[in-house]
């Protein structure tokens, strides 16, 4: 007997009798393949499973939050305990896609509110109810841009997260898209002169990240000016949007990003959640599920999935995307987190991250390190390190720090650079201790 399978032997016999079969084998009589014993161990009880899996979890090293100085797409933040308590409710966790709206109002209202919050953060008019992650959301944004104007050349800032760029390229394999990488200038921002030079009649979209992969805050006003009638896609970090003027204010056409900073733990990189926002005029080109407000038969407010004719289960081969399962539970997590933090809380976190990152940068400079770029940054920045920094980085890990990341990992061109990050979880003390450890390590 298995605790998850209720059938007693007597019931199996009763059921077979009703069907008119003699044995379980009869059920498979249409199957020409021989039954084959799987080379897997027998089932275990939950206590043994728990012990085994726990042991695996303990083979991973957890760095104290305040000693994490790496970001690059996954950011460590304080997460109020109530977030988990809410989002782990079985009514959310074990529910399906809200196909039957009347018994899914919890899901639907929560996602409608999530969409509203994403619109608020990004300054856009409409958001969908989530994508898998920031990278795939960006890839879908690029395909959407192509749907919008039919053109094929995508001008991609070099300062977009390399994994996001790679994902875009993979997604574009089925289409005839070309990607042009636009380098950064000495400020670390996308070189707008270069960008202007590359724009031609085939140019479809411009993609920049805000703050960009090097931590620099792009001047979106000028990007928009240069990009003119191209689709402007901005990949944004959501916490920074409580402090920075949102992309929507500068005329972005599509804003995407990863919602991980909004209440989701690092999870070894997944699941996170992608957010995706655009303008109403483009909504029918948008991928993913959208929740809308409506009325029920008695005039009471309710929520339903809308514009489903864009989607695969209706439109099949002509859908805007194949996405159906998205990351609803993580979108809920974002919404709960934002509800707790409110505008002031989010701003406070952004300000503290800013303060900590700038303090770290200043202290690094005082210790003789050089910042690579001059532009304004938010919670990440690049500084110059020895060529063999990766060795020091591993030593620092053994001292309990997830130190600034060696950028050579991402591209050999970046050898001798490191990407530092600080958020509200770091403290003056942990920053000083990192610096001490670095100094010791360099000697």
């Amino acid at each position: 007997m298995f605790p998850y399978i209720p059938h007693t032997e007597q019931e199996v016999q009763e059921m077979l009798k009703v069907i008119g079969f003699e044995s379980i084998e009869d059920l498979y009589r249409d199957v020409p393949m021989t039954v084959r014993r799987l080379n897997l161990p027998k089932g275990l009880d939950e206590f043994t499973v728990a012990r085994m899996v726990k042991e695996l979890s303990e083979k991973n090293v957890v760095v104290e939050k305040e000693k994490v100085f790496a970001g690059a797409g996954i950011y460590v933040h304080h997460i109020p305990y109530v977030v988990k308590s809410i989002v782990s409710r079985p009514e959310f966790v074990t529910a399906y896609t809200p196909y039957q709206a009347e018994v899914s109002q919890g899901t639907l209202q929560a996602l409608f509110e999530y969409q509203t919050m994403i619109c608020e953060l990004t300054g856009m008019e409409v958001a969908n109810s989530s994508m898998y992650d920031g990278a795939s959301a960006l890839a879908e944004a690029v395909l959407m841009a192509h749907r919008i104007n039919g053109r094929t050349k995508v001008l991609m800032s070099e300062a977009v997260h390399p994994e996001y760029v790679q994902t875009c390229k993979t997604y574009a394999r089925g289409f005839d898209l070309q990607f042009v990488s636009i380098a950064v200038d000495e400020n670390g921002s996308t070189d707008l002169k270069l960008l202007a030079n590359f724009i031609d009649a085939e140019s479809c979209a411009v993609v920049v990240q805000q703050p960009n992969f090097f931590g620099i805050i792009e001047d979106l006003r000028r990007v928009r000016e240069v990009a003119k009638d191209l689709v402007l896609i901005v990949v944004a970090e959501p916490i920074s949007l409580s402090l920075l003027e949102p992309p929507g204010s500068f005329g972005a056409d599509i804003v995407v990003g990863d919602g991980q900073p909004l209440g989701i733990p690092p999870n070894f990189g997944g699941p996170t959640v992608g957010f995706f926002a655009t303008l109403e005029k483009y909504v029918r080109k948008m991928p993913g599920r959208i929740i809308g407000q409506t009325k029920d038969a008695e005039g009471k407010t309710g929520y339903v999935m809308i514009l489903q004719t864009r989607e695969q289960h209706i439109r099949r081969g002509k859908a805007t995307s194949n996405i159906c399962t998205n990351h609803a539970l993580m979108a809920l997590t974002n919404a709960v987190y934002m509800s707790l933090m409110g505008p002031e809380g989010l701003r406070e976190i952004a300000e503290r991250s800013y303060a900590n990152a700038h303090y770290l940068a200043q202290r690094l400079e005082e210790k003789g390190f050089k910042l690579k770029f001059k532009g304004p940054f938010f919670n990440e920045f690049v500084f110059v390190v020895p060529e063999d920094y990766e060795r020091l980085w591993r030593d620092l890990f053994n001292e309990g720090f997830l130190a600034p990341l060696p950028l050579a990992w991402f591209d050999e061109r970046y050898r001798g650079l490191a990407l530092a990050c600080a958020t509200e979880v770091n403290t003056k003390e942990s920053i000083e201790r990192l610096l001490d450890a670095m100094e010791r390590g360099l000697k």
Partner: protein
């Protein structure tokens, strides 16, 4: 009431630790600073708890009751697995930590991959895709890469049966294929003659679900595989319907070259209102070099690492390595069930489907006379003609009885379809009760059709107007 309407200016639900570095902000140019008011709600912690508790109470869920949604495999989601996935050693690790400090995570992924290879009969698997459709796209890009690697540039057609999930053609199209639909036989099976007609040197792949969306085993699968391969095309397996087959037979043994799985179906990871899921993609050895990077591998010294060295890889499908937390749950599930439990799960899933099919055949025509696998489809056309009540109405009326509705109007090849998948975690009692409710509704449809047509009556809201919602869309609270 929306959460925005509950907001009170200045109210707070958070408190941060005393900050040790004060914010100067002098370096941030004014023109970058937000001027647009950020209208997030302002609430106390209790406000937030009550709001979401209220929303939770308006949801149906597996823990509440039966979810006979065809093709969705709404089985019980073990609580143990939720607990394990939330262990600090899993949730608090950064994807860019040194590889030697995340050996537990990599070992788990490696062993999960190995187990899935064994279950499906494939040679190598990527755990990167975030969902079934994401896996499909991955798989189809691999198909594309395979043909191109052989300079076989003509092959841009994907054959898809007309009974297929909508994601199949959508994913094929997204991978750049032209989609050609194959008509099914009257029996609801792939028509081998039709297939033969369509196979030529432009065909890259046949996408197949087996058991198919009618819950029927494609009995000619070995011949189909032979034909497809002889034509130089690949055979793709939509693993959404894997729940019937574990320990009984394997896609790999049937001749499939590429398989995607839905861990959030067969392997009991929860659906979370529509995600996160996980859609691993498995391939035969000759396709392994096209899988997304990075792949989890084991060194000779027994340590695990992320292999980025696949020059022919299709590339990345997303950031990082997959929905790791979901993988933990699937891993724990496979350990718990084991070889014997997985087989038993499939057998009981098939038993449940055939039993319920038999019970419901009292009230409805079933779409096929053949023994079904883990699900089956009811053809409601006679019922609709007789009563004037739509299948949609039956679905809504079911909600009044406290059960979820089946999948309706799918597969497209069955008129007025109801697609029903009970899964192995439901008991005989639940199935009996469901059949009884169906009987009552059929009765109501005859005696009091308006009651059914105006359903639901006992739900948090009455029937919702989704036509106006799409015609005059309200996308956000304002």
């Amino acid at each position: 009431m929306t959460i925005f309407e509950k907001s009170v200016k200045g109210r707070k639900g958070f408190k941060l630790p005393e900050g040790s570095v004060s914010f100067e902000g002098k370096d941030l140019p004014d023109h970058l600073i937000r001027t647009r008011k950020l209208a997030l709600p302002e609430l106390s912690e209790l406000d937030v708890v009550r709001h979401y508790t209220e929303l939770a109470s308006k949801n149906y869920s597996v823990d509440k009751g039966f979810y006979p949604l065809g093709s969705c495999t709404m089985k019980y989601n073990p609580k143990l697995n939720e607990f394990l996935a939330s262990l600090e050693g899993f949730t608090e690790i950064h994807p860019y930590q040194p590889v030697e400090t995340v050996q537990g995570a990599l070992q788990l992924m490696y062993e999960l991959k190995e187990a899935l290879c064994e279950i499906t009969g494939m040679d190598e698997i990527s755990l990167q895709p975030a969902a079934g459709a994401h896996g499909e796209l991955t798989g189809m890009l691999i198909v594309r890469a395979y043909h191109l690697s052989r300079n076989d540039t003509k092959r841009n057609v994907a054959l898809v049966p007309d009974s297929a999930h909508g994601t199949n053609p959508a994913s094929a199209a997204m991978a750049g294929f032209e989609v050609v639909e194959l008509k099914s036989t009257k029996d609801g099976l792939l028509d081998v003659e039709e297939l033969k007609k369509h196979l030529n040197d432009r065909v890259a792949v046949l996408m197949l679900t087996n058991p198919n969306t009618l819950g029927l085993f494609e009995k000619d699968i070995l011949e189909i595989a032979k034909l497809v391969h002889e034509a130089g095309a690949l055979l793709y397996y939509d693993g959404a319907n894997l729940n019937a087959i574990m320990g009984r037979f394997r896609p790999g043994d049937m001749g499939f070259d590429v398989v995607h799985l839905n861990l959030h179906k067969t392997f009991s990871t929860p659906h979370g209102m529509g995600g996160p899921g996980s859609g691993p993609v498995g391939v035969k050895q000759f396709l392994a070099r096209f899988l997304p990077v990075p792949l989890v591998r084991k060194s000779k010294d027994g340590s695990y690492y992320l292999d980025y060295d696949l020059p022919e890889s299709i590339g990345r499908m997303r950031s990082f390595y997959g929905n790791f937390s979901v993988l933990v749950k699937a891993y724990a599930y496979i350990l718990t069930m084991g070889e014997d439990g997985l087989k038993r799960a499939s057998e009981m899933a098939v038993l449940n489907a055939n039993y319920l099919r038999k019970l419901l055949s009292k009230y409805f025509k079933v779409a096929s006379e053949r023994t079904c696998m883990h699900e089956f489809v009811v053809d409601g056309s006679e019922f609709v003609k007789k009563t004037g009540v739509r299948i949609l109405d039956v679905a809504k009326r079911l909600l009044d009885y406290g059960v979820h509705a089946p999948t309706v109007y799918f597969p497209l090849i069955v008129h007025e379809a109801m697609m029903i998948e009970p899964t192995e975690t439901e008991s005989k009692q639940t199935l009996d009760q469901f059949a009884e409710i169906m009987g009552k509704i059929v009765d109501e449809a005859i005696k009091n059709p308006d009651l059914v047509k105006s359903a639901p009556h006992n739900t948090p809201v009455k029937r919702l107007d989704d036509v106006t919602a799409t015609k005059n869309p309200i996308y956000r609270y304002q």
